[in-house]
């Protein structure tokens, strides 16, 4: 897989990252080299079985939330978090 600056900008849009044009060109080269390396995976006969013991699960039961997280907000109104306005209305 070869990346060009346009592909990088497309990915950057999906990832919500602003990437400067000159940086996109450099990233295209870096990502191409990494992905070319990764393509050695095609040589391996992989298997589908799960990884034993790797993902124990807890019961999916609701717990009370942590009020201290809401207290972090710059501004709040009861349990509602206030943020600075980002889009000015006309």
């Amino acid at each position: 897989m070869r990346f060009d600056a346009a592909t990088v900008q497309e990915l950057a849009g999906l990832a919500r990252l602003e990437v400067a044009p000159e940086r996109a060109t450099a990233l295209a080269g870096e990502l191409s080299r990494i992905v070319t390396y990764v393509e050695m995976l095609a040589a391996l006969e992989g298997i589908d079985e799960g990884r034993p013991g790797a993902t124990p699960r807890r019961d999916d039961v609701a717990r009370p939330g942590s009020p201290s997280l809401v207290e972090l907000a710059a501004g709040r109104d009861a349990d509602v978090v206030r943020l600075p306005r980002v889009v000015e209305t006309e």
Binding site: E18, R33, Y37, V38, L44, I47, G53, T55
Partner: protein, 462 residues
């Protein structure tokens, strides 16, 4: 460099015997505040006196000063992950592992520099400048937990916490001549560890010797309901296991750890360590696991894929530099573009690609199948032998800047540590001598939940 004076066990024994529980903590906090080797991050010093006053003087870690990597939450302290996007963030709660250390009398005295969001192998990806290796300041301490490794190797503290995703404790332990222990995935709670790649992340300690590493890991390990992947298996006596010796143990020398890229001096020290294990009664054989050659490729799909999801939560609204923007979409783009450094952006883009429509099958799904194969093959090999040994890193600590320009060259520093990470197996790096005046680390990898045997072998090397 100041040689480390005392182990954590010696300090705790002295405090339990009546010594001042604050003496070592105050001295360590002063040294951390001076930021030698750029190994440290801001820390509210007031917290030290409060901890000393309330310390458990009878605990297993009574009065032991500890440094935390800057991605571990400690209530009231900054937790910036060496990233601009988290500037100003103060943790509102404490990580389970940190609370467990404190309950045994440990005193947190500082926070350490790291690769931004734990992405790197040299601590050069910090937004606050690179950390340096206390043994040779022209060289990197390794990464991503390089600041914590420097704190222990430089004699500031006997214990520091790092985090592992693909080798971020074992590799810097190797570069700095200390012990780094990565337990089985799920052994130590991730609650309070800022997520990078959740299926791989685990909190891991640095220590001066294997007994200290075992003690600290044992204190932190055990089930935590706040981490859904936390293991329920009993932990056992890891510190005691260190004294078991290696007589009759089957040690497999990993053939894939002898290959291209391993420096001759590193290979020689590892061969001598294996010879020493053999003289002590271990049954040594050579083991080949060909699929591990593909571990780094699988890792650099899976870890970035998980990172691109985990880091989606950082929107640049509350913390970090606030970008000027006229729409919400523009605010996210600019805030994340300015807040994340180059390596983090590279991995987010790589992960976004690996998960994107049309490519996920070829990259992400294939990498997961490779991960299952590697895990299967390593577990099969570990039915024939009790542990696998290899160099921790193909090289000794490299010069600052040597690999910073080429991401793939930097990634290759992890080639021998990622197999155990993908398989979730316990592994330790223990010093096994010097090459060109710099330390070499031997990696010992064991069966799932069998940290005890890994520690027995590593202790016999040290």
């Amino acid at each position: 460099m100041t040689p480390p004076a005392l182990t954590a066990r010696a300090m705790a024994a002295a405090v339990r015997g009546g010594a001042d529980p604050g003496a070592w903590a105050r001295a360590a906090a002063d040294r951390a505040a001076a930021n030698p080797w750029n190994a440290f991050r801001p820390f509210h010093r007031d917290a030290v006196e409060a901890q000393i006053a309330g310390a458990n003087r009878a605990g297993r870690l009574a009065g032991v000063p500890v440094v935390l990597k800057d991605n571990l939450a400690d209530e009231g302290q900054p937790c910036g992950c060496a990233s601009r996007i988290l500037e100003g963030y103060v943790a509102p709660y404490t990580a389970t592992c940190v609370a467990r250390l404190r309950a045994e009398g440990a005193i947190i005295v500082g926070r350490s520099n790291m690769d931004e969001f734990a992405m790197g192998s040299s601590t050069e990806n910090s937004a606050h400048g690179p950390a340096r290796n206390p043994l040779d300041e022209s060289r990197v301490p390794g990464g991503s937990s390089g600041g914590s490794a420097a704190a222990v190797a430089g004699g500031v503290v006997p214990i520091a916490l790092g985090s592992e995703t693909g080798g971020s404790v074992r590799q810097p332990a190797s570069f700095c001549g200390i012990v780094g222990l990565k337990p089985t995935y799920g052994r130590i709670s991730r609650h309070g560890l800022v997520a990078f790649a959740s299926s791989l992340d685990i909190v891991s300690p640095f220590a001066l010797d294997t007994r200290d590493a075992a003690l600290v890991a044992e204190v932190m390990a055990g089930h935590d309901p706040l981490d859904s992947t936390s293991l329920r298996e009993p932990v056992g006596d890891w510190e005691g296991a260190c004294d078991g010796g290696v007589s009759g143990l089957r040690v497999g020398v990993l053939a894939e750890g002898e290959g291209e890229g391993v420096e001759p001096g590193v290979a020689a020290r590892v061969a001598e360590a294996v010879e020493s294990l053999s003289r002590q009664g271990a049954i040594v054989s050579r083991v080949s696991i060909p699929s591990t050659r593909l571990a780094l490729a699988a890792y650099y799909v899976i870890a970035p894929a998980e990172a691109s999801s985990n880091l989606a939560r950082f929107d640049g609204l509350r913390y970090g530099p606030r970008a000027a923007a006229s729409t919400l979409a523009e605010l996210y783009l600019r805030g994340r573009g300015q807040g994340f450094g180059p390596e983090v952006q590279r991995r987010i883009l790589l992960g976004t690609f690996a998960l994107s429509a049309g490519w996920a099958e070829e990259y992400y799904v294939r990498a997961q199948r490779a991960r299952a194969r590697i895990t299967h093959d390593m577990e099969a090999a570990l039915r024939e032998v009790d542990v696998l040994v290899s160099p921790t890193s193909p090289t000794v600590a490299f010069k600052l800047g040597d690999r910073a320009m080429e991401p793939l060259a930097m990634y290759l520093a992890d080639i021998l540590t990622v197999p155990a990470s993908l398989a979730g197996l316990p592994a330790v790096s223990v010093p096994c001598g010097m090459s060109e005046g710099l330390p070499v680390g031997l990696q010992v990898t064991g069966r799932r939940n069998d940290e005890a045997t890994v520690l027995r072998v590593a202790t016999a090397v040290g």
